[in-house]
Point group: C2
Chain length 338, copies 2
């Protein structure tokens, strides 16, 4: 298992990135990580955090800034760490790549690499949300802001495989985010997508439209949406979680006396438990190879978890399972068209 | 101050609707309410909750179901309570209307009435969210899922007036929901809308793109989005608030002993404080007249608060202030084009 890690990506890179890589390989004896970035910055960090024969460095001289235009960055900086990660994947020198860098540049790099799984027209970023009934996968959360219905359908298939084999849900269900649960609601794109879900082999898993409030109620296991809506959902959830936990902490702190510390500790642990860094980044599904996109402000724990998730996806044969499912659907379609 | 209240609208109508009206007029000596709906159902409720010469009934024989198609409902049921409310407003027999019924039918009824304020091309539903820095107005949350840039710009102007005169913010700021904060991000619609904000007189209030997490951080006072995204945001917030408060209650309940009841009471009060029924419904801005759309599961408290909000908006001259602002912008534009 060999993962290329963008050492220059993230608000605090390369420090916590290198630290996270060191932690990950110490936890997983079969994991190799290649740190992609400026050797002059990485080597002193390896001196600090520890070296290993399973931890290599691939030097590159440039990095795309977190706020930089992805297309401009990729064009003007040919030796940037994100493009180098994608090249290592394209050359099959690694099994997967992980980056906490500029998400737009990661996605654009993936689109330019054209290393999509057979049957996938556009990759999508998936993320896991905790709900009343266990984890829910939501995709796309930002790779594809103008999806076609076939893209959304493919997100459904990929999400289903993910929910079954990674989240270990026996009969996962899929819902399409809309402004109402009734059929025929919302934009034209949603009606065409619903037709696809209802016609194709996974129709048994498709539960129709779901509304925003259904996500955290755990009404379905996989939530499909366009990348604009998904990105807004993801960030709204981050903001409101912060807000509610702060308000709760203030009120609990004011109302309790003898058990105040216990109450605050409980809230701190909860905030930690639901912090994005626990979830190990978001997979860019549909890429031939494992690709994990991490939050820009990832710390060492987030990077360690993302590397562990990348290794887990590769070992579970996630992409082979997706390809197999999409192929069987193609056969169904060919038979249907005879 | 005379408000028409859709007595048949809402999951539990007409009981809590009538009860809320009785409470509202007892709190506001200058408020008159006309209950629009089935007299046979309303009269016994008035016997139960109390009569007043400021509480009338306008009988109609039909009601549009909560899950019914708005267009089908409005067409097939000419004597429905929502259409009757809009007619009372069109005939200037009331100053405003309030409904917890089918939101789509309320909006469609408003579009069909064509009673828009001068300078407004499409009304939008606005809702108030609590944030780290006080209330934030977000619009549109469901009236207009395919807005033009001029619609979004007008939402900005209306939101600004609302924030200044109703939320009492001295120099309110506006942000446009997008997938990143940098200029030029996201869909074409957002770039055109940003151009309008930057060119027009309210440019000083426009802070550019905001992301989902900015809403609850209180980064701006008014958040502009299309009705699809806004509706999803609203419902995601409802779902995740429920979820977090339940998880917190479980953990607090498990970790505390002597102060367990105190802790749970604090959380119950918080849930109450941030419950939608406290916020008194969402105004449909841009209508010539006051129009408040309430949550489908409104209880008497929610209806009472919505009637109070309707009266407050009318007394503040909200619509006159909006019209004046839009007119002054027209003048600016005319001068600019000389």
């Amino acid at each position: 298992m060999h993962i290329a890690l963008d050492a220059m990506g993230g608000d605090y890179a390369p420090g916590p990135i290198v630290a996270g890589a060191v932690q990950a390989i110490s936890q997983d004896g079969d994991l190799r990580v290649t740190l992609v970035g400026d050797e002059a910055q990485i080597q002193p960090l390896l001196d600090q955090f520890g070296r290993s024969d399973r931890l290599g460095v691939f030097h590159c001289s440039q990095a795309i800034g977190m706020e930089e235009s992805p297309t401009v960055g990729l064009r003007r900086k040919p030796d940037n760490s994100i493009s180098r990660c994608w090249q290592l994947l394209a050359q099959a020198r690694v099994d997967g790549i992980v980056s906490a860098g500029n998400t737009g540049a990661m996605v654009a790099g993936g689109l330019m690499s054209r290393r999509f799984l057979a049957g996938v027209e556009r990759p999508g970023i998936a993320t896991i949300m905790p709900t009343m009934r266990g984890p829910c996968l939501i995709l796309d959360v930002g790779a594809n802001i103008y999806p076609k219905a076939t893209h959304l359908y493919q997100y459904g298939v990929m999400g289903l495989i993910y929910a079954r084999h990674i989240l270990k849900k026996e009969n996962p269900s899929i819902g399409l985010i809309n402004v109402g649960s009734e059929d025929g609601k919302g934009p034209e794109l949603h009606r065409i997508t619903a037709d696809l879900f209802n016609k194709f082999p996974i129709k048994g898993s498709y539960k129709g439209n779901v509304e925003g409030r259904d996500i955290h109620r755990g009404s379905v296991d996989v939530v499909i949406c366009d990348g604009f809506v998904g990105n807004v959902i993801l960030k709204v959830c981050e903001g409101i979680t912060e807000f509610i936990l702060k308000v709760v902490a203030r009120e609990i702190s004011e109302s309790l006396t003898v058990e105040r510390d216990k109450g605050i500790n409980t809230l701190t642990n909860l905030a930690q438990k639901y912090h994005y860094s626990e979830f190990g980044g978001a997979p860019l599904l549909g890429i031939d190879g494992i690709c994990i996109v991490c939050h820009g402000s990832s710390d060492d724990r987030a990077i360690r978890n993302a590397l562990a998730v990348a290794a887990r996806h590769a070992r579970a044969g996630l992409n082979q399972l997706i390809t197999k499912e999409l192929e069987s659907q193609q056969q169904h379609l060919s038979l249907a068209s005879i």
